[in-house]
């Protein structure tokens, strides 16, 4: 017997227990193997994906946004380096000392650092956290010189949109803002991510994809601490293209200076092709404010301002044209043969129709006036009569032929149509038939008539270029890289008003008279060497009824009841190079307020004279 101290009974029990134990062990190992099966075979691919996303980090390479220049290649919008202050949590040796130093050096509050470091992910101690964006040059210098004393601190440089002249042409250029959820979902911004800056208005919006370029990306292998180990694949970003606008920076600057502290708009364009040379709207805003996310109070102030600084008055400001509309009446009358230029009518200062008496701005009347004198001296009574002869619908037809009552097709911003009333329109709109009295006030650009400054400038261009209507353009050239390659924009003619040359010539000559004749209302726009043509307008803000009671001395009326001052001009009249429309809200008389601005603009553009920059207040 080999097992000395085992009795047979106990050997039996031992073997029984061993069998049970073996079974138990097999079951437990079976469970472990099943578990491995579950992890590695059943859910294996899920875990494989997880391990891949663990190690592979996709880092975006933002593209360089294209720059915007004026027609002469002067930069309007560029990108400047923004120096951002970062901290790497792992590098911080002594948090208290670091926040103390930063407080002392650049006045950064210690709570900010504390908050950011506490909020940082424990998992990525090597991932930099931004402490302050866009630090100033002085702050940068201080940080750089004390760098050895600031472990964990680093500076990152990134391009920041820079509107060089802050608010120059702000309405045209637009501004950048963070892409919002609706825009992300819309699919119109492929490759965009939350937090991206996109054009929100103006050229920045209209040409967003072109300016933006294409985002690049880099697949980076990272370790558990978020440190970059190596680059797996790299797709470089594609820089956005540059855009050359049609505007002339000097002229634009002058236009904005002339509108300073006023409300109003100026549009200057090339009458031969529709290129916008300047487009200013006042009050304005600084697009730089929007880039890093505007704070609530500033935004609130801008949006709720009664002066609507975000509105581009040149496109969406709708005003009664006042006497400028007389050009339409005159052209319509000539084309219809209703007006004989030689015919003289008598103006005694009033025109009575039924119970109403309509006044001429010249209280004592102009006496005997023909068409030319009526335009030059802006006789209201003459046009009351002519308007009455034509009737509302004929006036409307010619107004529309000149491009009024519809958008000009300017590609940027929200253009308004204005309003050219017809008898049908009135009936439909108000359910009341058109009144003859309304035709009378329409003849001098009041009543329901509304126009925008760009329509006025375009109309002047049409009169002076032989009747062609061009689509106003803002882009002169757009190109990638150096700018030599790329596309040039061609003028786009959208119509020919089809007026007789002799009629247009007559109007042109009369408009030259407005500025150059002794009694012309636009004499303040007269230039020595250049033949300027123009037309003044004074758009009444309050109704004619009320006007009767008001005093005629415009300077004594509170400004909000004062008339809008209009002036439209073309120069040189023989060979037009610039067409202008200027409106100063509540400015008073067009000839007095707006015409001098036209003079300075024309002088600046055509003579490139420096003295005009000394803009009189």
């Amino acid at each position: 017997m080999k097992r000395s101290d085992f009795d047979p009974n106990s050997i039996e029990i031992l073997n029984k227990q061993l069998k049970k134990t073996t079974l138990l062990i097999l079951v437990v190992f079976g469970v472990l193997i099943l578990r491995l099966w579950f992890l590695q075979i059943v859910n294996g691919s899920t875990y494989r994906t997880k391990s891949e996303s663990n190690r592979i980090n996709l880092r975006a390479i933002p593209p360089f946004r294209g720059m915007i220049f004026d027609r002469n290649g002067e930069m309007l919008v560029g990108n400047r380096p923004s120096y951002d202050l970062y901290v790497i949590p792992e590098g911080v040796q002594h948090q208290k000392r670091l926040s103390g130093s930063l407080k002392r050096l650049i006045g950064l509050e210690p709570q900010v650092i504390e908050q950011k470091l506490d909020g940082a992910s424990r998992r990525y101690p090597f991932r930099p956290i931004c402490l302050k964006r866009d630090i100033s040059r002085n702050e940068l210098a201080v940080i750089e010189t004390h760098r050895f004393n600031l472990p964990g601190i680093m500076i990152k440089i990134k391009p920041q949109r820079h509107y060089i002249q802050s608010n120059l042409a702000a309405h045209l250029l637009g501004y950048l803002g963070e892409i919002d959820e609706d825009q992300l979902k819309s699919g119109r911004y492929p490759g965009s991510k939350p937090g991206d800056l996109i054009g929100k208005t103006g050229v920045e919006l209209k040409w967003q994809p072109f300016l933006n370029g294409m985002r690049g990306g880099e697949q980076v292998e990272v370790d558990a601490a978020g440190r970059k180990i190596r680059s797996i694949s790299l797709k470089p970003s594609v820089s956005g293209g540059n855009i050359y606008l049609t505007i002339d920076k000097d002229l634009q600057t002058l236009a904005e200076r002339c509108l300073k502290d006023k409300k109003g708009a100026i549009v200057a364009l090339n009458p031969n092709n529709g290129e916008i040379l300047a487009m200013a709207s006042s009050p304005c805003f600084d697009p730089n404010l929007f880039i890093e996310g505007i704070d609530r109070t500033t935004w609130g102030r801008i949006v709720s301002s009664k002066d609507f600084p975000l509105q581009n008055r040149a496109l969406s400001g709708q005003y009664p044209p006042g006497s400028i509309f007389k050009i339409v009446i005159a052209l319509a009358g000539l084309e219809e043969g209703i007006i004989d230029p030689e015919e003289e009518l008598f103006c005694n200062g009033t025109y009575t129709l039924g119970e109403h008496t309509y006044r001429c701005w010249q209280k004592y009347g102009h006496g005997m006036v023909n068409l030319r004198r009526a335009l030059v001296e802006s006789c209201d009574v003459y046009f009351y009569k002519m308007g009455e002869r034509l009737g509302v619908d004929k006036i409307a037809r010619y107004a529309r032929r000149l491009g009024l009552g519809k958008v000009t097709g300017f590609p940027v911003g929200h253009e308004k149509e204005g309003l050219i009333p017809t008898s049908k329109w009135k009936l439909k709109r108000f359910g009341v038939p058109w009144q003859l009295g309304e035709t009378i006030s329409m003849s001098i650009g009041q009543s329901f008539v509304l126009v925008t400054p760009i329509q006025m400038a375009s109309m002047m261009a049409t009169v002076f270029n032989g009747g062609f209507i061009f689509k106003p353009q803002i882009i002169k050239r757009a190109g990638k890289g150096g700018g030599d390659k790329g596309y040039n924009f061609k003028p786009k003619m959208i119509g020919n008003a089809g007026f007789k040359k002799e009629n247009l010539d007559f109007i042109k000559s009369a408009l030259v008279g407005v500025v150059n004749d002794t009694r012309g209302t636009g004499w303040r726009a007269k230039l020595k060497n250049i033949k300027v043509a123009g037309k003044t307008g004074t758009a009444q803000v309050i109704t004619l009824e009320k006007e009767k009671e008001k005093d005629f001395n415009a300077d004594e009326i509170p400004s909000r009841f004062r008339d809008h001052a209009w002036f439209v001009a073309v120069a040189p009249a023989e060979k037009p190079r610039i067409a202008l429309a200027i409106i100063i809200e509540h400015g008073g008389h067009g000839g007095k307020v707006a015409a001098p601005i036209a003079k300075r603009m024309i002088m600046s553009y055509l003579e490139k004279s420096l003295e005009v920059f000394a803009c009189r207040p």
Partner: protein, 367 residues
């Protein structure tokens, strides 16, 4: 004293198993520390080779005498190890919040490892003392209960929850093996359960967190749950064939925590896939079943029970670690025996397995 039969009866299979496991372990450790070889990682791998050499020395040392000597000196050995446990609480080295190591100048070792073996010996002595197997009742068990409780409390004090609980589990499974009357068993389980809340209160915050994060690993994916999740990702992403030797991204990029100690198995799972993990498990299974076979063939009762004790210890350490890294059990910080890096644990394991070899070699000898 030396007997030729000892050579004849030498258990080559046991030795071969250990050599294979040692080779796999070193290979795996090389990969686990491959990414940190610049910062002392290569030392880890070389050191483990030395530890294995010392381990095999301990293994052979344990075969040189007749194991029945241990039956005689069971209690002295036990008290020495208790004394060392007390000593470690007084003068032990404090590392990461716990006092587990005795610094002996050249090397440091964990008295809890020695305590484990000594408990196995006294338990084997106790359960083989009385003639014949019979069902133990509760009143018979106060002595082993006390023998377990003293080191348990001392180890818990260090604190080393994992080792302490493992001790209880191993002892309990031995008691189960020797057959306990079912009534006593019910009372035992009930009292263990009633003690559990008090143990919960005694636990340190990080220990509670580990258990909580085991129950709900998604609760804090970057905190305690992070280890479990990353380990599961490592093993799972190995798929069937694995990512290949030295190609485990979880390991190489440090997503896997403690990849050369507690989570060494995850490295294998990632790089060798299902096939490699199962093969390793089968090796352990074979080792355990071979141990049972040794228990069965032992010439005396003490040898049988001692072999069972060693098998139970091996079994539980493997199951707890593999269960832990695969997310079946909470993270308790038990390394995988013969596989994870660590000298003290390896030496005590090799010593215990040396005892097993001792029993195996003397299976045909009579006193």
């Amino acid at each position: 004293m030396f007997d030729r039969r000892l050579i004849q009866n030498f258990d080559w299979i046991l030795l071969l198993l250990l050599l294979v496991l040692a080779a796999i372990s070193i290979l795996n450790l090389y990969s686990a520390t491959y990414a940190i070889r610049d910062v002392g990682g290569s030392q880890v791998f070389v050191k483990q080779i030395y530890w294995f050499l010392i381990g095999f020395a301990a293994f052979f040392l344990m075969t040189t005498y007749n194991y029945s000597v241990l039956e005689r000196f069971a209690y002295p050995i036990y008290f020495i190890s208790i004394a060392l446990l007390v000593l470690v609480l007084l003068v032990g080295k404090v590392a990461s919040g716990s006092q587990r190591w005795l610094d002996l100048g050249l090397i440091s070792f964990q008295p809890s490892e020695m305590a484990k073996i000594s408990i196995l010996i006294v338990l084997a002595k106790f359960f083989s003392k009385k003639g014949g197997y019979r069902e133990y009742r509760l009143r018979d068990l106060w002595q082993p209960f006390l023998l377990i409780m003293i080191p348990f409390v001392l180890i818990l004090k260090e604190p080393d929850l994992g080792t302490a609980l493992l001790l209880v589990v191993i002892s309990f499974s031995v008691i189960l093996f020797v057959k306990v009357h079912w009534k006593s068993l019910v009372i035992l389980v009930a009292s263990a359960l009633s003690v559990a809340p008090f143990i919960w209160l005694e636990l340190k915050d990080y220990q509670r967190l580990r258990i909580l994060s085991f129950l709900r690993p998604d609760m804090d994916p970057l905190g305690s749950g992070y280890h479990i999740n990353q380990s599961k990702i490592a093993i799972g992403s190995g798929l069937f064939w694995g990512k290949g030797y030295l190609k485990g991204t979880q390991t190489r990029l440090h997503f896997l925590p403690e990849q050369h100690t507690d989570f060494a198995f995850s490295v294998l799972g990632e790089e060798w896939g299902f096939i490699g993990s199962v093969l390793l498990l089968l090796l352990y299974l074979f080792l355990i079943l071979w141990g049972l076979n040794i228990a069965k063939n032992s010439k005396d009762k003490f040898g049988s029970i001692l072999a069972i004790c060693i098998v139970a210890s091996t079994f539980w350490e493997v199951v707890v670690n593999v269960g832990m890294v695969t997310g079946l059990l909470p993270v308790v910080g038990i390394p995988l025996i013969l596989f994870s890096y660590g000298g003290s644990a390896l030496i005590s394991t090799m010593a215990a397995l040396g005892l097993l070899m001792n029993i195996s070699m003397r299976r045909f000898m009579f006193q």
